[in-house]
Amino acid sequence: MSPTSRSLLDGENIVVIGGGMTAHRLAESLQQQDPDGTWSLTVIGDEPFEPYDRVHLSEWFAHRDAGALAMDLEVWQDPRTTLITGDSVAALDRKAGVVTTRSGHQVSYDRAVLATGSWAWTPRAEGTDLPGAFTYRTMADVERIEEWVRLRGKALGRQVRGVVVGGGVLGLEAAAALQSLGAAATVVEFTDYLMSAQLDQGGGEMLRLLVEDLGMTIRTGVGATRFLPAGDGPVGTAELSDGSSLPADVVVFSVGIRPRDRVARESGLAIGERGGVVVGRSCQTSDPAVWAIGECASFDGVTAGLIAPGNDMADVVVDRFLGGERVHSRVDEGTKLKGVGSVDAASFGDVNALGAGALEVSFVDPIHRQYRKLVVSDDAKTLLGGVFVGDIELYAALRPLLGRPLGADPAAVIAPDGGGAVDLELPDDAVVCSCQNVTAGTVRGAVTEHGCTTIGQVKECTKAGTVCGSCVPALTKLLNAELEKSGVEVSDALCEHFAMSRAELFRIISEEDLGTFSEVVAAHGTGRGCAICRPTVASILSSLTGRHLLEGEASALQDTNDHVMANMQRNGTYSVIPRMPGGEVRPEQLLEFAQVAQDYGLYVHITGAQRLGMFGAQLGDLPDIWRRLVAVGFESGHAYGKSLRNIKTCVGQMWCRFGVQDSTTMAVKLEMRYRGLRSPHKLKFGVSGCARECAEARGKDVGIIATHKGWNLYIGGNGGANPVHAQLLVEDVDDEHLVKYIDRYLMLYIREADRLQRTAPWVAEREGGLDELRRVIVEDSLGIGEELEAAVQEHVDCYEDEWKVTLEDPEQLKKFVTFINAPGVADPDLAFVPERGQIRPAGEADPITYHDPRAARDAATATPQETR
């Protein structure tokens, strides 16, 4: 990727005017592409911070902490790079090749890059300069808004009433931010509907219903004409163009941005008609030594207000600096609403079907608050645009198809449950990793041009999948498809130590009756394994032999979670989550649970799995905590394992007026049967007592819904990053058959699935799909039904509570120690802070922290904390 010999830039001074996201991108990209160049780079930004993630500005309100928006700071550690913050460039002297900052600092340059961004426009109206009126653009803005709402609320002694002027993406984000601060929010939008620059009228109306559900008040078709002060001076009232007025203790303007081009203008560079420094496809301005990127640059007469074109421009400039010929082009990026509760809205292309002959196909469901529209060419073949409100699942799949054949009937694509029918190869410009904004083309290029052959190499090369990781399955598919195309045999090797897949290894271990990792790796692997194959082999051995997973050599195979039977948290402490089958817990158990939490200063939380958890337990305390829990009849909840977690249920026929079967008893029975069963991934069940489906069973690996005649069994559902509805396997079965079919299904999955493959993709990718599975499970077409049931029964017969067994074994207890040479000493680096009467791990920004969690908790109860 990088030039091998001398860099074209050697000895040159580069100055970047502006310290925002594109400046960061340029610095990062230049360092990466020219690691050995001897240039020097100076970035001058007027905000008093390192460049931060302005795109996610609204997330500041969730954390009230600038750190939440931090971008990689290592960029500024590079000795060739200087970052100046809190100072701005006042003048650009192109003749002398020198920039002068407001503080009088001068930097000479060989190449200058303008990256000054834009500023938030405020309408020309009386009173926009009153205290309490803000724009919504910078970290300073959001900090000031937070402070104002807090102090104004105290001064007024009542809820603060906010007005946001502008109903676009940022305006709605600002309104949500005001709500998160406890203020009421009214959005005033001059046009007829919300997000009018991105959505059509129908989408805008649906969005209105959604944000009104969040408690916002929406006024469309009116403008704010004047702002009047309250009795004590700050803004108090907003007058609207229809003659009405609104109480306004705080006003936020979000009516658009303008390029910051003053320095460029004064230096005599060409400026676009609608503002912005004119650049060509190379991002050079009218002076070839000066370049411009991001929102301050006018390309084809337009300034962009999104990060993606800005990043592309930064990449173009770096490429050109190093002798490349990359050009900038503008693609329709589409727009997505973010940071407004759980409200989703997104669009791309010709949303209003303005093109000649364009046809619109829409689906409107005001009850479920969904709106989907596709705009297609007159022959209904080419996709020209799309609007999605309420449910935007299709947006990511369809946006890359803009201007291309849709490949399906548009009505079928947007019909309820119709999206699944569309399974198209991702085009090169489809964004696969939205965290790092990496396209399918870039991932393919990593394989074809940079020779990546493993997912790790693809991650390192493209940065895709390195933030949240939810796109890794998609990356893997792309990688394998590319490798296959280029004739490389795609390896389904588990890892470098085993050349076969998990399913194949399962078969080998089972057939050869191998009992230990050493035997397995000696016969079929290399070396001593790794963090991938060791737990996989442990899981297979456990499924096959039902042996305690810490017995003998198996102990060294387990990830720390399985090793100490607790789930590690971000600071190295653990969670303690006992099983509460069917969501039931007895009062005397609850008393002891509470007392343990009290005694150890643990954080108590009702988990997403219908049971209670304690967080913050230290390694050395786990045995004592569990001894007390086991004494009142609790057992391990396997919240740490790739195994059955819990079975969610309702109270069913036992208590509920609508229940038609005893779902709770069924859930308890099933949880006791499958508890501790090791599997390729975690397993979740749901049992609902009637068709109202309160247990959300269809979102689980095993979903059971009561009918008047018995049970309906659904399989292959999950929540998580890619939710999938479970599909109906069999209807109206009795208790006995229900258990029989679940036995067969689970054991088949355990045998066949890949490592970390959940049931949904296993069902989807299995040859013959659901119909074939039904033949195997229900009709027993392979004649293995009894064998599968017997394997489950063996597990049930051998089951022992792992914690109970461990507590009785002094050898096992030895490992619950933080320091082998200082028993009883806790990790001195652990630090906690009070939060809502309990504790949480301390962060870097916390000024006062406590080593002892009990002290942190007591500090919380002694002095009620102000809302952070």
Binding site: E74, G456, K459, E460, K463, G465, T466, E496, H497, T526, G527, R528, G529, C530, A531, C533, R534, P535, E553, S555, A556, L557, D559, T560, N561, H563, V564, M568, R570, N571, G572, L619, K814, K815, V817, T818, F819, I820, N821, A822, V825, D827, D829
Partner: protein
């Protein structure tokens, strides 16, 4: 120059697992390998900031040598976000796409059935 400190008996350690130790100001992760030799690196996981390296899984990876055939070297994987290091040198083997952050290595040996670990890290090696 560092001094070797007696930390525990070899039999106090499980084969192919690690344990934390406190050596003066340092938190150290000490591992017993399958061949009953020991290794020690810093306990702090530089990616997560938590003291958890000793709780990671050990294994091996095959590396090419400058001269001679490939060989297996011992590795550890952090339980937090699964980065992998060479236990001999502290060098990063798999950074998960993040910048490479090596571990400090502490000299460690077994003498008369006791595990001895240096109380200060060795000079860092080139990653």
């Amino acid at each position: 120059m560092s001094d070797l400190v007696d930390v525990c008996a070899l039999t106090d350690l499980e084969p192919e697992r690690g344990v934390g130790a406190l050596l003066g100001g340092h938190q150290v992760a000490v591992f017993r390998l399958a061949d009953d030799t020991v290794r020690a690196v810093q306990q702090l996981d530089p990616y997560s900031g938590a003291n958890v390296i000793a709780r990671g899984l050990v294994g091996t990876t095959r590396v090419a040598q400058d001269d001679g055939p490939e060989r297996d070297v011992a590795t550890v994987t952090t339980p937090m976000l699964k980065q992998v290091w060479n236990l001999e040198t502290g060098a990063v083997i798999d950074s998960g796409g993040k910048p490479k952050k090596p571990l400090a290595v502490f000299r460690a040996e077994v003498r008369d059935g006791r595990v001895l670990v240096a109380d200060a890290p060795e000079a860092p090696v080139e990653a």
